[in-house]
């Protein structure tokens, strides 16, 4: 029961945001749907008259339909920027296929005897289309619109990746923050919208032409209203256009901290981390919440602003391993510590750049680095026991995993088994605790905030200084889990605010405080 109450509490507390998101969601769905109708029905009519074009048109629409939505949104950014525009165009593309296909099927499915009768009575092409073919094909065409509407309500949740708002903000924010209330507050209204739209359009399908005509007028009004809404709501004047991930938006060491500690009220857009670097590079965004060692910082010539009031806790990477395991594999600790202090932020960024942007394999990047550090040794044909290394599901962890594998194979007689791509922190940590893996690289900030979750006072106390954080997690992990944090590798993969280098230099902004001052100026 308490769970349920807290969900309602969440809804009540967030009802303004929720209403806004529902409004945006409906706006996106309707606008894209109406555009898809405006494009799809004439196309369907065209290919029903020129059947030779039908394979081409239906084929292309089918191919567009199979492009994963995130990828499609990614293609949209260089062309249409971020915000409602790319989202609506992507949704339009998804809605097209069912509408074109059903218009085509509906019109070609009209009884040829009836069509011949219309011709024989002296109707011209347009009279035949509007008096006979359309009315008879209408149920099939509306069934297509119905399919498109339901698809669009679903896909519109992804609009939050390109800062177009919608219920996706709650859904994806909730997933990142592991907040079920937030997920449900987005998912339940989205599901209800889909069901309601389906019912309403289903009702229209059975109604007469006259009601249909009336409904089209109403839809027209809604279209204009939502259109105006987008026109005015997406253009508040901002000196700096900020785009943050849904996770960053909801965290104390994120937007909340920026507001309370730096007094920075940026009115940020919500975007996916998959596209935000690109958007910053394209100057669609000026300020983003990235990770300090991401390879794209180098690729897109971004600069990290100094966190001069330290709201971002340090995220120093180090292997974590059971004390028992260290005893079981003598020599392992020394081997793993070979990497300690060897990789600083800029080196890690560079290594990430090589895998993510230059598309080199993690093995090659790991080997090249070890060779340059004179740490590389050829692998022994291990005869000893097997050590299992785990990694989370992003590039940096793959590189670290390869380095540890090469070091163990080069310096010891153990065999190595790798388990890459273990979803998130929780999965990696559970795997370690249940002896499914022997160690994996973890970050001190994650250990503190996600795994230990101490009181806010403790967090504030220990997160100011990287050494204190490390000492705290080291001590607590030993006490609570019998786990060891080995020596830090050297780099800090923390949250960071970043801007284009050129713009930062032009505005003389190096720290977050300076950014705050710039924004406060009139």
């Amino acid at each position: 029961m308490t769970e349920q109450q807290s969900f309602w509490e969440f809804i009540i507390a967030q009802h303004e945001k929720l209403l806004l998101q529902v409004g945006q969601h409906l706006g996106l769905t309707f606008l894209s749907l109406l555009l898809a109708i405006a494009v799809g029905i004439p196309l369907g009519v065209l290919i029903s008259r020129r059947r030779t074009l039908s394979t081409l048109v239906l084929g292309s629409a089918g191919i567009l339909q199979t492009v994963p939505s995130i990828a499609l949104l990614g293609f949209m950014i260089p062309l249409f920027g971020i915000g409602a525009k790319p989202a609506i165009i992507a949704l339009l593309i998804y809605a097209l296929l069912p509408i074109i296909r059903n218009t085509y099927a509906g019109i070609t499915g009209v009884d040829p005897v009836v069509v011949e009768a219309a011709t024989a009575l002296g109707m011209n092409k347009n009279q035949r289309l509007f008096k006979v073919e359309f009315p008879l094909a209408m149920p099939v065409i509306i069934a297509g619109i119905r399919t498109a509407a339901v698809i669009n309500v679903g896909v519109a949740t992804l609009a939050s990746f390109v800062a177009a708002g919608g219920l996706g903000e709650f859904i994806f924010g909730g997933i990142s923050l592991n907040n079920s209330n937030m997920i449900l507050a987005g998912a339940i209204p989205a599901a209800l919208l889909a069901v309601m739209l389906d019912l309403i359009i289903g009702y229209l399908q059975k109604s007469t032409l006259k009601t249909l005509r009336r409904v089209f007028y109403i839809l027209g009004v809604i279209l204009i209203a939502t259109g105006l809404y987008f026109l005015f709501s997406t253009k508040p004047e901002r000196k700096i256009i900020a785009g943050f991930t849904p996770e960053f938006m909801g965290r104390q060491d994120g937007d909340l901290g920026l507001r309370s500690i730096y007094g920075l009220k940026l009115n940020p857009l919500v975007v996916s981390d998959a596209i935000m670097y690109e958007a910053a590079y394209q100057a669609k965004l000026d300020l983003i919440s990235g990770y300090s060692t991401d390879g794209r910082i180098k690729a897109f010539d971004l600069v990290v602003l100094e966190d001069d009031k330290t709201i971002f806790p340090p995220y120093y990477a180090a292997p974590i391993i059971k004390t028992r395991t260290l005893k079981k594999f003598p020599g392992l600790e020394e081997t793993l510590n070979l990497l300690a202090g060897k990789i600083n932020d800029s080196i890690m960024t560079n290594l990430n750049y090589k895998t993510e942007l230059l598309k080199q394999t993690p093995e090659k990047v790991a080997k090249d680095f070890l060779v340059s550090q004179h740490l590389y040794k050829k692998a022994n044909l291990g005869t000893g026991e097997t050590i299992r290394i785990g990694s989370k599901i992003f590039g940096e962890q793959y590189i670290l995993l390869e380095m540890y594998k090469m070091l163990i194979e080069g310096y010891t007689n153990y065999k190595v088994e790798t388990k890459t791509g273990l979803g998130g922190t929780k999965i990696c940590f559970d795997a370690l605790m249940n002896d499914a893996i022997d160690f994996y690289p973890e970050y001190t900030g994650t250990g503190l905030l996600v795994l230990l979750k101490p009181s806010e006072k403790t967090i504030a106390k220990v997160s100011k200084d990287s050494r204190q954080t490390y000492a705290y997690v080291q001590r607590e992990f030993k006490k609570q889990y019998s786990l060891q944090w080995l020596k830090p590798i050297g780099f800090n993969n923390a949250y960071a605010l970043m801007m284009r280098r050129s713009q930062a230099q032009e505005l003389h902004i190096r720290t977050i405080s300076e950014l705050g001052n710039y924004c406060a100026e009139k």
Binding site: A118, T119, A120, G122, Q127, L136
Partner: protein, 304 residues
Amino acid sequence: MITIEGVSKNYGSNKAVDKVSFQANDREILVLLGTSGCGKTTTLKMINRLVEPDSGTIYIDGKNIREQKPEALRKNIGFVMQQAGLFPHYNVAQNIAVVPNLLNWEKKKIESRTLQLLEKLHLTEELLNYFPHELSGGQQQRIGVARALIADTSVLLMDEPFGALDTITKSAIHDEFRNLDELRNKTTILVTHDVSEAFELGHRIGLMDKGQLIQIGSPAEMLYHPVNSFVKDFFAGNRLMLEYKIASVKMVQPYLKKQLKAQERIQNANVWEALQFFSTEHTFNEDYEALLQAFNQYRKLQTV
């Protein structure tokens, strides 16, 4: 008047219509008769340009039909189709009013003309609000005829108009159709594969085979003066009945040896109908035989 001159139409290597020429006169019903695939429907559809001929010319009242826009041409030609071809989303009133609406008639004129036609076709006014799927086959076909007649065009084309009806409905509708005064001022061309329908409705019959027009003439000419064995064989199966049908009682009257008892009852019938009537009652046995003898005398003179 419709004049067709050397019209041909090929579908690939198949000659659907092969150099067909004939004339359909004012105030006549010309029936194009033949088995399926003989080219009769294609010939019919070339007259309102649903099909365009590969060669040859068609004139209506002396005007080449290619000199008009197809839509304008079709508005001046009534067309009845095999399965009525009514619009399923229109009720009966709207279906009948399609052409007048295309011609921008006034509402009142459409209404009064519709009511006039309903009466002539023995349909009730309440049907006007029904939709086609709520009607019987015979009713649908009558509505199809009304739709083709409403604009009172000088040409009426009918493509197997009664083909989908059962025999009883068909003969009832044949009677009505024959007596329809609306047809009096028209050139009507009717396509059918039904031999007895051709003989019951046609003033003249054109027999087609493999895209060619084999013979065109009055029903009597078709039966008694066939141009070749194909024509002769074509009617062999129904021949006796057809002969009775095309001879009216009035035509055999001069050969009667005595006055018939039921003379008045059969005055306007054909021999077939009269014999049918006589054969139902014993009291007419003498009449039956007398009429039969007279018919045989009449027939001898036809085949000479």
